[in-house]
Amino acid sequence: MRFTTAGSVDDGKSTLIGRLLYDSQTVYEDQLAGIRKATKAHGGLDLSLLTDGLRAEREQGITIDVAYRYFSTPRRKFIIADTPGHEQYTRNMATGASTADLAIVLIDARHGVLAQSRRHAFIATLLGIRHLVVAVNKMDLMEYREEVFREICGDFGRFAAQIGNPPDLEFIPLSALCGDNVVRRGDRMPWYRGPALLEHLETVPLAAEDHPVGLRLPVQYVIRPDQDFRGLAGQLASGAIRPGDLVCVLPSGRQARVRSLVTRDGELAEAFAPMSVTVRLDEEIDVSRGDMLVSPADPPRRALRFEATVVWMNQKPAAADRPYLLKHTTQTLPARIVEIRHRVDIHSLSARPASELQLNEIGMVVVEAQRPLFIDPYRRNRFTGSFILLDPLSNETLGAGMIESAAEEAGDGASHSASISMEGQPEALWALARRLAERGHPVAVLPAQVLLVGPVGTALPAAASVELRFTAGDSPEEIFQELVRRGIVR
């Protein structure tokens, strides 16, 4: 399991991690000897020195960049992304959160919920982390009083309720310094009946994606050792793939069946996210890096423009109409921000008007790419819903984006063609055909109650890129909305 922590030395974050490593016996004797030597000046064993790795960090007593730590217990292996809490390092906090399943938000029992804890909780949630552990630390300095803990739980709960799509919350009172409720439940807080932090980390079920989408396999590399072998290599962003499956290649829309899943250790009967695979198709269709294999029944949305939440990471502010490069899945292409809708005030979570986004600011923007992308909302798929913006001149990484939705754009019709079958309700099929035709879609009703529909402004296609089946229970309105959702109808 990967989790992130954020904070500074002051709130005991480094001590907490040091305690997890120390009490789970992950710290080696020579490393301990090293920190004993370094802490001689102020006595005791300063566990925080286990984590701050750079000379500048030790000099200044702060965490500047993400450090990754590893420990394991008999039940789970853990990767910690230990991130700085200061506002000026928000981008590093986002880096750590982007690959985490869980975040520990540290709160100093003496100070209650501070801006830093709120910022961390907000960024963790923004980056799709579904589990937050609110660790109320330094309970020893508040005589382990229950009401201190309860008040902080209440404050934090009210804050978390304002975050859209709030995550699961677990509150744990602890003392990293004394070890209470970190690895083992102590007896100094008998009023607390929940698990110790490590017990929780070991047992929390990692939720699958809320609304899993179908197959998404961005093609990274085409393996071509000779004329007879052509393997499409990539890591599944979601879904599963099996020999015999019908897949659709985007952007071409061509379909083919999976011939085999090739590995050095033999062929696979099935592969699923997040495996890295090599796929052979049964037909030689044109596929290259940047293309994506998807399930025909549940394709991603095609969009030239889309709304996204962006974390800005560069001194040069984000502004409309500057030339950027955008990397999405396995392709990089020119793009620009066409509009900054607002910036988020991270303290009040309210939207503020903005014409630029400064370093470490978060805002909602509309992005336009030079050619259409195939996207999913970030909350449904971290990999087809995320992108980074790069500076074409300095090559720096400028910002990280999480896609909310495709933006409406004049004159851009949906790209998919679909064949829709509706068993046992010919009237509804004809009604749907009329409704689509009124919107400008080319339609044809084929034998066996199948409706073929194409994108607005195009000729009726010979074959459909998506096949949909509806049964007698689906109302025409539900079917229409489903077509909108799939990007077949706008």
Binding site: D30, R69, V262, S276, T330
Partner: protein
């Protein structure tokens, strides 16, 4: 829907990184140090591009102070897997008599490893270089990105690293600049040995315990190779031991151990209370010495 084991998830992540580099860079190269991490990295590369051959050469920086068994293993292994192997030595420094006994370990390392590496990368025009370093090895490595940017002098700036989110890596460099890439970033020493066992990956026999002639100096076991200068009264003796990590003979101590198979090494690792690079003299000659060497271009 099934889930992956921890090792399967690490494997999938590493293969993604290897393919991303092969796709986005003009001239990648894989640094091959002959150690267990290199063995795992090469296996992952074989998997990533199967059934094709590796789309990049292997590069070994040979200081001339490597164990004889390492060099034998290297030559045999590269022939067996059909890899293109390049070996680079800073011949100028060697001719000028660079050795750790005369120059001290820091300067020796700077000339025979760091300088040699930077020269080899420049000479080959390589814009990306894979290394088998892991973040759990050392605390400055814990801070390093998977894609670690180096300026045209090969230097690392740890305070100004590119943000790195999800699996979207920024591979853009100008002429002369390069990226060091660490596909094993998230692997631990134990993960590496468990993978070696699972995949039956060949490693240098020096990792397995047997009686070897050693100079016993205090707590240290120093291999008798390359004319190591002896102190008065010292004589080599046979000690049951093995190497936990491999480097140059004068700077790599052995550990007392009876673990002569991979399962025994894994069992021993679970009991270990001392860190992997403790026996590497060069990491400890100064506080933060790995960070300093890395800034200068060391892996």
């Amino acid at each position: 829907m099934s889930t992956l084991t921890h090792l399967q998830a690490l494997e999938a992540e590493s293969i993604h990184i290897l393919r991303e580099v092969a796709a986005e860079f003009q001239r990648p190269v894989m640094l091959y140090s002959i150690g267990k991490d290199s063995s795992v990295m090469v296996r992952l590369a074989q998997k990533a591009f199967y059934p094709a051959a590796l789309p990049f050469p292997l590069l070994h920086i040979d200081t001339g102070y490597k164990f004889r068994e390492m060099v034998e293993f290297r030559d045999r292994f590269c022939v067996e897997i059909g890899a293109r192997l390049m070996v680079h030595t800073n011949t100028q420094a060697v001719a000028a008599g660079a050795n750790p006994f005369r120059l001290g370990t820091q300067k020796c390392c700077g000339l025979l490893k760091t300088r040699a590496l930077l020269d080899a990368l420049t000479a080959g025009g390589f814009d990306a270089a894979f290394g088998g370093a892991r973040r759990d090895e050392e605390k400055s490595r814990a801070k390093e990105r998977v894609y670690s940017f180096r300026d045209s002098f090969g230097q690392w700036d740890p305070k100004n690293q590119r943000p790195e989110l999800w699996n979207l890596f920024n591979s853009r460099v100008d002429k002369g600049e390069s990226i060091r890439v660490f596909p094993l970033s998230n692997w631990t020493e134990l993960d590496v040995w468990e993978y070696i066992q699972l995949e039956n990956i060949p490693v240098v026999p020096l990792y397995f315990a047997r009686p070897r002639p050693m100079v016993v100096r205090g707590e240290s076991l120093i291999p008798v190779e390359h004319d190591i200068p002896l102190l008065p009264g010292e004589a080599p003796q046979m000690v049951m031991c093995r190497m936990r990590s491999l480097g140059c003979t004068p700077c790599t101590g052995a550990i007392r151990s009876a673990a002569d198979t991979v399962p025994k090494i894994i069992a021993e690792m679970r009991e270990f209370r001392r860190s992997e690079r403790e026996n590497r003299v060069i990491d400890h000659d100064q506080e933060g010495s790995m960070e300093l060497k890395k800034r200068e271009g060391y892996f």
